[in-house]
Chain length 292, copies 2
């Protein structure tokens, strides 16, 4: 199978699992569960769940089913987007080509649907794996999404918007935590489910950090070079907000070189794993191709 077919297969499995692992829309309170499903079923690349499933398969195709963890990661990613889009944060109307949750429902429902998706991630991890694996999954996901990583990155990102003296180190802190931490975590969850060794897990974690950085630099570039329809979200908002990004700090050409360097470091990391798989090389290249 081609890379695209394998990727699409993981996406199909993820979307079926999302439907299966979320409470039915008819579960009381219906409004809340409808909003949770609206947010989770709005498409998107499904990059993080794919990383969980592919990392699991890299180490052990016969291991425990990775789908509950894949959905858990997507729950956390989606909750962070819902809260990020709220009026007190980015105040965004469009996400994945559709109305954001607070526009489609209301602010209180968006707030609580986000809270519920975050909580649901831990319900899923704690009910679908043997104790030792489940505990490691909860540790990884709670840490990656906590105040020093995902949320820490969001806070520093907000603070940076109001400052003119954002340093390269600040920008790296934001990207490592706001974006790369969850990319890294997704790969690590797959490794944990496959019961990969400590060394293997740390290797894929390290590759994930480079992949995450590449991903964020590419995101900054696309905010300048793409359009709403292609990207499925409002473009040009970073520049409009006077926000410091890789592009505003380094310029477009140097940003492309930086994205390339991070991509290559990620690929080298993936290749160092004992079962060199083309999937992660192809995945990393396919992300880079969006800006070339």
């Amino acid at each position: 199978m081609s890379f695209n077919e394998v990727f699409a297969g993981y996406v199909t499995q993820t979307e079926a699992a999302i439907d299966r692992y979320l409470p039915l829309a008819s579960t009381r309170p219906e409004k809340l569960h409808t909003a949770m499903r609206y947010a989770m079923q709005g498409g998107g690349k499904r990059l993080r769940p794919v990383l969980v499933l592919a990392a699991k398969d890299l180490f052990n195709t016969k291991a425990q089913d990775g789908l509950a963890a894949a959905v858990a990661v997507e729950c956390v990613h989606t909750y962070s987007l819902i809260h990020d889009d709220l009026p007190c944060m980015d105040n965004d109307d469009l996400r994945r080509g559709r109305a954001t949750v607070h526009r489609a429902f209301d602010e209180a429902t968006a707030l609580l649907a986000g809270d519920a998706l975050l909580t649901h991630a831990f319900i899923l991890l704690s009910h679908h794996y043997p104790a030792a694996i489940a505990l490691n999954l909860v540790r990884e996901l709670s840490s990656a999404s906590g105040s020093e990583k995902l949320i820490g990155g969001q806070v520093e990102d907000l603070l940076a918007e109001k400052r003119k003296d954002v340093s390269k180190a600040d920008l790296e802190f934001i990207h490592l935590n706001k974006t790369a931490a969850m990319i890294e975590c997704s790969l690590v969850l797959g490794a944990i489910i496959a019961e990969a060794s400590h060394e293997e897990t740390e290797k894929i974690r390290h590759a994930g950090r480079h992949l995450g950085l590449a991903f964020q630099i590419i995101d900054d570039i696309l905010d300048v070079t793409s359009d709403n329809a292609t990207l499925g979200k409002t473009v040009g908002k970073d520049a409009k907000a006077g926000k410091t990004t890789f592009v505003s700090m380094h310029g477009l050409e140097k940003s492309k070189l930086l994205a390339e360097a991070s991509s290559e470091a990620a690929i080298a990391g993936f290749k160092s794993l004992y079962k060199g798989s083309d999937f992660f090389t192809d995945l990393t290249k396919s992300l880079s191709q969006r800006i070339t």
Copy 2:
């Protein structure tokens, strides 16, 4: 030791543990960690952590330390208050006699500090207990605080504010989930840490449900009969909002009788446990005394 001394002892231990188990205010991002600590160190009854510690001691005074779980429960309770106080929810300025988090900081910080406290609860549970216990703790807390319990109760509560036809069953759904679920959960976490039997755990869960209902009825009564200074939060807001409460539905006298009946059921439940402890009887009575 008297009941008050034992209770105060648990509170002192909890407050020291909150200081120990939260990231330092100097941890990056400082603003976020300062807000998390502001919210957690604002006093309050500390009822839920006390329930964790007392339940653990009821079953086994020598078991694993209950403090990490006690702090985790308080993190979840505090996050739910921070989000509840936001402008898009109750829009409250006062909590535990101080400015609410979004008034003391800003809305985005309050939103993210709430998110971070919820996440931190799972960091704590997954790092301080042996795998089998930790997994059960995560299962209980994620379920009690999820879309069908704590958050479900909050959503139904918001929906009920806009309706005139709230039934007794609706009001019970709200109170069982918005309030009782976390009270129940606190007791169950203590039982899990003490490795109580399944039967004992279910007995204390059941007693906790009655205690939680009693607690909420008393809260509804105090909203009518108390004042801001005594209660440390804005009183009279339920009536002002035209909200259906036990008092608006049943009247003040009948509500007192209902609170009494729930308290008695809780006491009977606690007494049915093999080591009948006066602590829970005294605790339940002390809550009831606030309305007599």
